[in-house]
């Protein structure tokens, strides 16, 4: 087997990704980088799924009544319904943002991102102020984190999810800011796509968490 150390002909590919100019090897195209990024993103979701599954297992393992039946604590159903609706609606606007940038509709893109971030923030406020009762002056909470496994699991699940929503909102605002500077185009918007699928993923997790926390099982009185 021979090894060439000689210079080999190389035309610099200006269509390749701007991040990678080392001029030594044939650089993959932006499309190839995006395929790698996409696969990496989905593997990240697979990893995260195990975190959320662990929390779901914890909920069904620990929330048992005196006879081993599945129970749930009494929560504010209206609050749960409203925040869920808000989050589902936000996914629509996230999708609208992605479609808009793919079609070069810049204004729609930026507005949709802001609406998504606003709805995400509304969800966070709903959970933290309304459901958790972190500010008892405004709304009094129903449960405390220390109320046995009911408090622990409600705050553990909604807290872990809220952390993801929070990071999603920050990501959306970052993408919005970069988008305003003109960093994305209809061909090149992996950043928008990553942000969008992350947001849909966090939304999807809530679709499993909401019934697990609010709907499944008979209610049980939690004394404070």
């Amino acid at each position: 087997m021979t090894v060439t150390t000689a210079e080999h002909g190389h035309e610099h590919d200006h269509a390749a990704d701007d991040h990678h100019h080392d001029g030594e090897v044939d650089l993959p195209t932006y499309q190839e980088y995006t395929r790698r990024n996409r696969l990496g993103m989905w593997l990240f979701f697979a990893s995260e799924a195990f975190l959320f599954l662990g929390l779901l297992v914890t909920r069904f393992y620990l929330w048992r009544g005196p006879h081993g039946e599945v129970v749930r604590p009494e929560l504010d159903q209206f609050a749960g319904l409203v925040v869920t609706a808000v989050l589902l609606l936000s996914s629509y606007f996230m999708n609208r943002a992605e479609v808009s940038i793919a079609n070069d509709k810049r204004t729609d893109f930026l507005v949709s991102l802001l609406v998504t971030a606003g709805l995400g923030t509304a969800f966070l406020v709903g959970v933290v102020v309304w459901e958790w009762g972190m500010f008892p002056g405004i709304v009094k909470g129903h449960l405390k984190p220390t109320d046995g496994v009911f408090g622990a699991v409600v705050f553990g699940m909604t807290g872990m999810h809220a952390l993801h929503v929070l990071s999603g909102v920050i990501l959306i605002l970052n993408v919005w800011w970069l988008g305003r500077k003109g960093d994305f185009s209809s061909e090149r918007h992996w950043g928008v796509e990553a942000c969008a699928i992350y947001w849909h993923y966090v939304d999807l997790v809530w679709i499993f968490f909401y019934p697990a926390i609010y709907l499944i099982g008979s209610t049980i009185e939690v004394p404070h």
């Binding site: 087997m1 000689a6 080999h8 790698r36 195990f50 662990g54 984190p145 046995g148 939690v222």
Partner: protein, 627 residues
């Protein structure tokens, strides 16, 4: 050149600053809430979180991403730093996978030495009955520390081999995400520092498994321990994600999955476990952490209804064991699969014969990884969970013996009739097989419920576990170090010293593992600082002494190896490009490997393991224009 041109020095300063800032932040919040300003546990916990971030900011592994958030493009620069000596790149953020692989390996060996030193200390204590120089709490902290540091060291060793070898073996320019790769390594440094620091603020005395309720009530050291594990877990997740994308998307044309070097299959299987299961040890430790910090009672059995129905609303410590072992059992496959891959990789080279049953070995790694997800309950036969669960967990565990057996038969088939060369790497491979056989054969004894019940939590388990770890990781890892040392440094190690290392370490390890099993059968409990000298008809002290001496012999052997490497890395005899006459791609290029490994994309022209077949090659590194 000032010290702070080294990334690691800046990182350590960042870690200290982060710790201080985190503590001040905690005090400030507590004052605002009208509480007493200083409380040790929240201050150390928040401080530790900030210290990890502080380290990463200081070392500079977040720089590029922070710039991206502001829309600044940063080109990926490969190559030694321009205005600094070349060696400094090993102490700073560097995006070349070969540098990162060496960083992983060296940091792993350092931790191996720390963990080994801790083991030597309590092994000396155990040589005689009675307490000589260790207190009970310190002994408990030490055994847990030995366990967790060694797990870190093994994960780093696995990361080192994967990062260094996988891109070379598939002829890729680098890993798929070089920045993520660097971050994956740098997580380990603040993580292991937190783990070591925890010893000085109270330690943690319930063993590396950190079962509640003990860990929920133990000293503050637990919070640092949890965060240290978190950091290493994050490293595992991003590292495995990177390896998976690299393996799936960056192979050259013609290298189908079943034409990869077999080590890549082992890494693939390991990465699948690391990517997913690691989340569960994080979840379980986070739950204990918040239970300690703010009283969320996941594992606190006190119910909410008091007299009426004492169980309702109470937590369950057994849940912790389920979540914990869902990672921590597959974790042992994370440790051993790459090692077994090294065995399969090296045997054909030193037997000059094709690898026997390539596809079966590849699939057996996948089978072990998949079955590994459904066997965690065999750690819990005496935990008090539902008895019915014992049966499926027992059979699932026994099932692991089948793919493992496939590997053994394939290894024998590879050596059979081969022209075997007994160089040091090959000796360690054979040592690995002998030791892993001991570990493997004692596995079904512990997987079977009736035999596990009396042996559970005895030293027999310790013997079995160390045999699997040495056979599955330590011996193959040492084989890999000897084997690829000439490729990394361009120099040959001292063969005679290598052989002395092998012939000291292997018999010593046999004595150690069989001795541990022996004292276990005599009735010695694990994780207990002292034992009854009358056990085993009064023979137990002799056995313990033998195990201790064997332990010191192993340590001596390891020191010999490190001295050998240290001596020859710069001034040893030049090794040439391919001293082992391997067909693998990384041996077809110069040693040490140039900055950009391959001059042109690889071309796959044959099978990877057709040793002995005249005029056949696996890959060519010739660029198309030169044909």
């Amino acid at each position: 050149m000032s010290l702070f041109t080294l990334g690691i020095a800046r990182g350590l300063v960042g870690q200290v600053l982060g710790m201080v800032i985190g503590m001040l932040l905690t005090c400030a919040v507590r004052i605002l809430l009208g509480w007493e300003a200083w409380a040790a546990e929240p201050a150390w916990t928040v401080g530790s979180v900030c210290s990890i971030i502080g380290f990463l900011l200081g070392v500079g592994s977040l720089d590029d991403w922070l710039k991206w958030t502001r829309g600044i493009q940063t080109p990926l620069v490969h190559g030694p730093p321009v205005d600094k000596p070349a060696w400094t790149r090993y102490f700073s953020v560097d995006y070349n996978h070969k540098v990162i692989g060496v960083q992983y390996t060296v940091w792993g060996i350092l931790l191996l030495m720390v963990g080994g030193t801790v083991a030597m200390i309590f092994r000396t204590e155990l040589a005689r009955s009675g307490l000589q120089f260790l207190g009970l709490d310190l002994y408990n902290s030490f055994i847990g520390m030995h366990g967790m540091i060694m797990i870190f060291a093994i994960l780093l060793g696995v990361g080192g081999m994967g990062n260094y070898l996988v891109p070379l073996m598939i002829g890729a320019e680098d890993m798929a995400f070089p920045r993520l790769n660097a971050l994956g390594f740098w997580f380990n440094v603040p993580g292991s520092i937190l783990l070591l620091l925890s010893l000085f603020i109270g330690g943690w005395d319930a063993g590396w498994t950190a079962y509640p309720p003990l860990s929920a009530r133990g000293p503050i050291g637990y919070q640092l321990f949890f965060l240290g594990v978190f950091a290493i877990g994050l490293s595992s997740i991003v590292g495995s994600l990177n390896l998976l994308v690299t393996l799936l998307r960056m192979r050259p044309a013609g290298m189908s999955l079943f034409r990869m070097p077999i080590f890549c299959w082992a890494v693939f299987a390991t990465s699948l476990i690391q990517l997913t299961a690691t989340q569960l040890i994080g979840t379980s430790f986070l739950m204990v952490s918040v239970q300690r910090a703010i009283g969320m009672g996941f594992f606190d059995p006190r119910g909410i209804l008091g007299e009426v129905s004492p169980m309702v609303g109470g937590g369950d410590p057994v849940l912790f064991q389920h979540l914990f072992w869902f990672y921590s059992h597959p974790a042992v496959y994370i440790f051993v699969l790459p090692g077994l891959g090294i065995v399969s990789e090296l045997l054909p080279v030193f037997s000059r014969k094709p690898l026997f049953g390539y596809k079966w070995i590849a699939l057996s790694s996948m089978a072990i990884a998949i079955v590994g997800f459904i066997v965690w309950g065999h750690h819990m036969f005496v935990s008090g969970y539902n008895d019915i669960l014992r049966i499926p967990f027992m059979y699932a565990t026994l099932l692991v013996a089948i793919p493992t057996g496939v590997k053994f038969f394939s290894w024998l088939g590879t050596i059979w009739g081969g022209k075997v060369h007994f160089d040091t790497p090959m000796l360690f491979v054979l040592g690995a097989i002998s030791v892993f056989l001991i570990g493997g054969l004692t596995g079904p004894i512990l997987a079977t419920v009736p035999t596990d019940l009396p042996l559970h939590d005895s030293y027999f388990v310790v013997g079995h576990f160390h045999a699997t770890m040495f056979g599955g990781f330590v011996f193959p890892f040492f084989a890999a170090l000897y084997y690829w040392f000439p490729k990394v440094t361009g120099r040959m190690y001292n063969e005679k010293l290598g052989k002395i290392h092998f012939f000291i370490m292997t018999p010593a390890f046999w004595v150690q593992t069989l001795g541990q099993m022996g004292v276990g059968v005599m009735g010695m409990r694990r994780r207990i600082a002292d034992y009854d000298p009358t056990l085993g008809q009064g023979q137990i002290e002799n056995w313990q002494m033998a195990v201790t001496i064997a332990g010191f012999a192993i340590a001596f052997g390891v020191m010999l190896m490190l001295w050998n490497f240290f001596q020859n890395a710069e001034v040893g005899v030049s090794a040439g490009d391919n001293p082992w006459r391997s067909r693998s791609p990384e041996w077809q290029i110069p040693s040490p490997i140039p900055e950009h490994s391959f001059p042109a994309p690889l071309k796959v022209v044959g099978e990877p393991y057709d040793y002995g077949l005249a005029d056949s090659g696996y890959v060519t590194t010739t660029s198309p224009g030169d044909d």
